[in-house]
Assembly symmetry: C2
Homo-oligomer: 322 residues x 2
């Protein structure tokens, strides 16, 4: 444990990997060790820029992260970590091959660390493991942590709730592909970039920007004092990346108190979410309050929620004599 | 109880009011009676159209409901109930005076029932009381139940999760007022109506429609096989209301299985939400697992969610020897 702790602080990638594996384990013994590790590393966390990246499959998220990461490493001398969140992934390491191909620069760089989505039976489980990953990467000295959404499902909301700034990549064609963007994702975006604005698509990208600008009038970023900017970029031509990084820096500039308080809110919410998820699972497992039967009855279209809940509550209180 | 039950089934407004008051009570004795009442009335519920109405303050929600309700009563011989959801209201009956003024027709009609938001210390509490209200109104023979969002807060999401179709009213000026619409509300809308499209504003309303149409390309209603239509209306000139009612009927047409399954999902979710809210409150009240201390520590920016959760879980399992 001491080696692991020191190894992570020294920036050893293998120690970091082992630390993450420990956090991802569901064995009670490992969970206890992970808890101790996180506690010890706690003073060394929190110093990175946590950046979420989302967009439909095919928009080029990995290629974008690879190009931007390369620039940050080569031009700004930063250390870059890339995590992905894929609640639909049944087993870990499913997308590592894909990532290694699309993130060829980062996969080989000394100053980059790429880790695929943890597996998990619940959305909450995947989210919490990724949260721990971010902390470990920070302790290992990574300056920028990209958290990429992969696959379908609710990964956008999960990632939004664990990063400081949320970047949405769009394709230049403003037509059908938009149907792939889920409810609310556009509104969560702090920065919107129309990717693949190169070659023949450059014109289309500019046109898309105009349309999106109108659409954005109906929305506003949830963050304080921030108006979501719209830009174009090309990961293959490596254009627009400097502008995007400038926007990220603007986002952080002079707002450390705000970001700190947002992170605190995220932690409190994550804690309560974990507790409630645990409590309901525990109640189901123990069969207290007939939770499963009552839910099953509702699923068959019988009764209503309030009536069922009152029944559950009564049984629960009886069980615990209170 | 028998009188109350029969009274509600006979459509007595005073019985309905008393039934709702019973459901809104927080006294355990009343809650038990409410449970019995809901259980008995259960076979007589579910037959109404449940319609949510939202929009910023000043858009004319009450006036709109009054005008549409009047038309439904006079021309289609329907019975109309109007409930409101205002999680910010500390005491019940706060807005009844306002409602009676703006809903002058419905307030006096034999075939209408208007009830202000229940009070409640929690969002969930307000939601559940309103859910029960809907069921009681259905048992009392109301064909249409409007659920209006009032005040700020999260009332939109609450209402969205208890209705079949969600109608968003917008003002003709497409400028600053849009800032008042919260994240995600536009995307929840099943029908969007630009209200106050009368007199000098008629032209502005048409212009707004064009803008909104572009914006809507970025979004899509969450309901199956439904594209959110955009229309104009005027509550004072009573224009556009027939078109809107036609759209509501289209929404229901041939989709009873879909609506039934959506309602079932809503009930299951509401049940689980109530159970989890109860469990976490119970844990806090009993002080099991140091929930409050752990949360307080996080709020002061100390530690992280996973570490705190593991501590909670350990303490909880120890408490219950499992």
């Amino acid at each position: 444990m001491k080696d692991l702790y020191q190894g992570i602080l020294n920036g050893s990638k293998s120690a970091l990997s082992r630390g993450i594996t420990l956090c991802e384990s569901t064995l009670p013994k490992h969970q206890e060790s992970a808890q101790v590790l996180l506690q010890k590393l706690s003073p060394n966390t929190g110093k990175s820029k946590r950046i979420g990246i989302t967009g439909v499959p095919g928009v080029g998220k990995s290629t974008f992260i690879n190009a931007l990461g390369k620039q940050l490493i080569e031009e700004s001398n930063l250390k870059v970590a890339v995590l992905s969140v894929d609640p639909s992934s049944p087993v870990s390491k499913g997308s590592i091959l894909g990532d290694k191909t699309r993130m060829s620069y980062l996969a080989q760089s000394e100053n980059a660390f790429v880790r695929p989505s943890p597996s998990g039976s619940t959305l909450g489980g995947v989210a919490e493991k990724t949260r721990s990953c971010i902390l470990l990467c920070e302790a290992a000295g990574y300056d920028v942590v990209f958290v990429e959404t992969v696959g379908v499902g609710q990964s956008e909301v999960l990632v939004y709730n664990m990063v400081d700034v949320f970047l949405l990549l769009l394709l230049p064609g403003a037509g059908d592909e938009l149907q792939g963007i889920k409810k609310g994702v556009v509104e969560m975006a702090d920065i919107i970039a129309v990717n693949k604005a190169d070659g023949e698509m450059e014109q289309a990208a500019r046109k898309a920007i105009t349309q999106y600008r109108l659409a954005l009038q109906l929305m506003h970023s949830g963050r304080e004092q921030w108006k979501t900017p719209l830009v174009t970029c090309s990961s293959t031509e490596e254009s627009g990346l400097t502008v995007i990084w400038k926007l990220v820096q603007d986002f952080y500039s002079g707002r450390s108190l705000y970001i700190e308080s947002e992170r605190t809110k995220q932690e409190v919410k994550a804690f309560e979410d974990q507790c409630t998820a645990f409590l309901i699972d525990w109640a189901k497992e123990k069969g207290i309050g007939h939770l499963n039967e009552l839910k099953g009855r509702l699923e068959r279209g019988k009764g209503n929620s309030t009536e069922s809940f009152l029944e559950f509550k009564k049984a629960w209180l009886q069980e615990f004599n209170s």
